[in-house]
């Protein structure tokens, strides 16, 4: 029996089971006391005099907003909210991926337990590890938690209407932005993202269709350095495909490009990462493998969770193939020459 057949067989086993509707009795038997609202403390010391000065204007503006809001149908309002929710969701992937590149902390990348003396291989495996981590982050994107608010309450970023917080495992960041829609499903976006307590401005464009989403952002690292990130997601039946690309620019010169592709089918993922820098292309491939491919005489600790087959192809270099055994707390990289094996 193939894995896909088994998965579908188990999944369909509950199709005929109906869940009773107890919603009315649950409400009838629930006892909850509404908490009184507490006073909101204003952090901005200038708020009070500013608020008094603008009270008249705010009053008039509020009346106008209420008038405009009431003239919208409830269907339009819901659709707008859904659209902005999708924009926030896609932007959240970009923000976390940027965090991987920009942030100086990498608390979630599995740390080296033991390394051998081959420095060049150690350095290479350090890169491999970070690419694998980003791919896994894309694959596990449902673990990305984002909180989107249509009303930015942070007065330090008052130029921006929307605010969003994003987190994945122990990484978290905030961003503030404005969205302008052009055609039905196309929009432009501009804002600031805070990574390691530093503000980075960004701007970009996106498009939302039924089962496809696309967004491109340019983030300014300094006056001359910038990163352009692009994220595409395509969903079909039992398959999901993520394409994420990152380009580093110095002024208008492209310095490096990295492209990630994550294909998920029947809960199995394969990854491909292609890096182009200084006319050298390096391609990394990762695919779940059976441990039957491993040398049976190889001595490894038992209890690994899964086996990944990896391959590195680099311009003018020999291909490098290896296995990665995934343990609870570390990865074991296994190369053809046993003395090259690395724990990382």
């Amino acid at each position: 029996m193939r894995d896909k057949e088994l998965f579908n067989y188990v999944k369909s086993s509950t199709d005929d089971i109906k869940i009773n509707d107890y919603s009315d009795s649950i409400i009838a038997n629930t006892h909850h006391e509404v908490k009184p609202k507490s006073l909101i403390k204003r952090k901005n010391k200038y708020f009070l005099p500013v608020s008094l000065a603008t009270l008249g204007v705010l009053g008039a503006a509020t009346a106008l907003v209420v008038f405009v809001a009431n003239s919208n149908s409830s269907g339009t309002k819901t659709k707008t909210r859904q659209f902005h929710d999708k924009v926030a969701l896609n932007a959240s992937y970009e923000m976390l991926a940027l965090n991987n590149v920009i942030s100086s902390t990498d608390s979630n990348v599995k740390s080296a337990k033991k390394t051998y003396t081959n420095d060049e291989l150690s350095g290479l495996i350090g890169d491999v590890n970070s690419y694998l981590y980003t791919c896994e982050q894309l694959k596990n994107s449902d673990q990305i938690i984002y909180k989107f608010d249509q009303e930015n309450t942070n007065s330090n970023y008052s130029d921006y209407k929307y605010m969003m917080s994003v987190s994945y495992l122990e990484d978290s960041l905030n961003c503030y932005y404005n969205v302008v829609t052009s055609k039905d499903d196309e929009y432009s976006i501009k804002g600031v993202v805070i990574i390691d307590e530093i503000d980075y401005t960004f701007f970009g464009e996106g498009e939302e269709e039924n089962d496809e989403s696309e967004i491109t952002l340019t983030v300014n690292l300094s006056e001359t350095l910038s990163i352009k990130v692009k994220n595409e997601v395509e969903i079909e039946k039992d398959e999901v495909e993520y394409e994420y690309s990152l380009e580093r620019y110095n002024g208008s010169n492209l310095v490096e490009s990295i492209k990630y592709e994550v294909d998920i089918e029947d809960d199995e993922a394969s990854y491909e990462v292609v890096i182009n820098s200084n006319n050298v292309e390096t391609k990394y491939e990762f695919e779940k493998s059976s441990d039957e491919e491993l040398d049976e005489n190889l001595k490894v600790e038992k209890g690994y969770l899964s086996c990944i087959e990896g391959k590195i192809e680099k311009t003018n270099c020999e291909n490098l193939e290896f296995f990665i055994l995934v343990y609870d707390n570390y990865y074991l990289y296994i190369f053809e020459q046993e003395e090259d094996n690395l724990f990382i």
């Binding site: 029996m1 067989y9 005929d16 107890y22 938690i145 969770l305």
Partner: protein
């Protein structure tokens, strides 16, 4: 509506959209309970109790959490408490096993569960395949390391493949 919007209403005792919320989440709660208790009547009791607890303690709920997993954790804890209480009363294991709901709708599902001896393996299979939880979320729900969760899942899958595969091919 987003889940944060549902919760905001519930905190104000506004349950106008509770049915919608219930329809979205009740499958997760029910099968969490059923996987442990293997009895539809008891699972229905836990289903109701879970929502009541969720609503009564709604002020403890923090926005941004995964609501499905949160509800599953409540249901799981209640189910385990009930199961342990029942085990003390019913000492004959055969009677506990016979409490599987034997209606036709449950036949295939119960058969699959019966192939797995370990309760935790059954839970993991339900959480991942039936309820689409990630392994990270499952590890949090059952309070086990991620690695152990993955290892158990693969082991359970292998067992099911062997057992179901035999019957499937016949």
């Amino acid at each position: 509506m987003t889940f944060d919007e549902f919760v905001k209403e519930f905190k104000e005792n506004n349950y106008i959209h509770f049915k919608e919320f219930y329809d979205l989440t009740s499958k997760n709660v029910y099968f969490t309970a059923y996987g442990i208790l293997k009895d539809s009547d008891l699972a229905n009791d836990i289903l109701q109790e879970t929502y009541m607890t969720f609503l009564e303690k709604i002020d403890d709920y923090k926005n941004g959490k995964n609501v499905y997993a949160y509800l599953s954790m409540i249901a799981r804890n209640k189910s385990i408490n009930l199961y342990n209480r029942d085990k003390r009363i019913v000492s004959n294991e055969e009677i506990v096993i016979n409490k599987y709901d034997d209606s036709n709708d449950y036949k295939k599902f119960n058969e699959i569960l019966s192939y797995l001896d370990d309760e935790l393996d059954r839970e993991i299979i339900i959480y991942h395949i039936i309820l689409d939880y990630t392994f990270k979320k499952i590890a949090q729900i059952i309070d086990m390391p991620l690695g152990t969760t993955l290892w158990r899942y693969n082991k359970a899958l292998k067992t099911l493949k062997e057992r179901i595969g035999d019957n499937y091919e016949r």
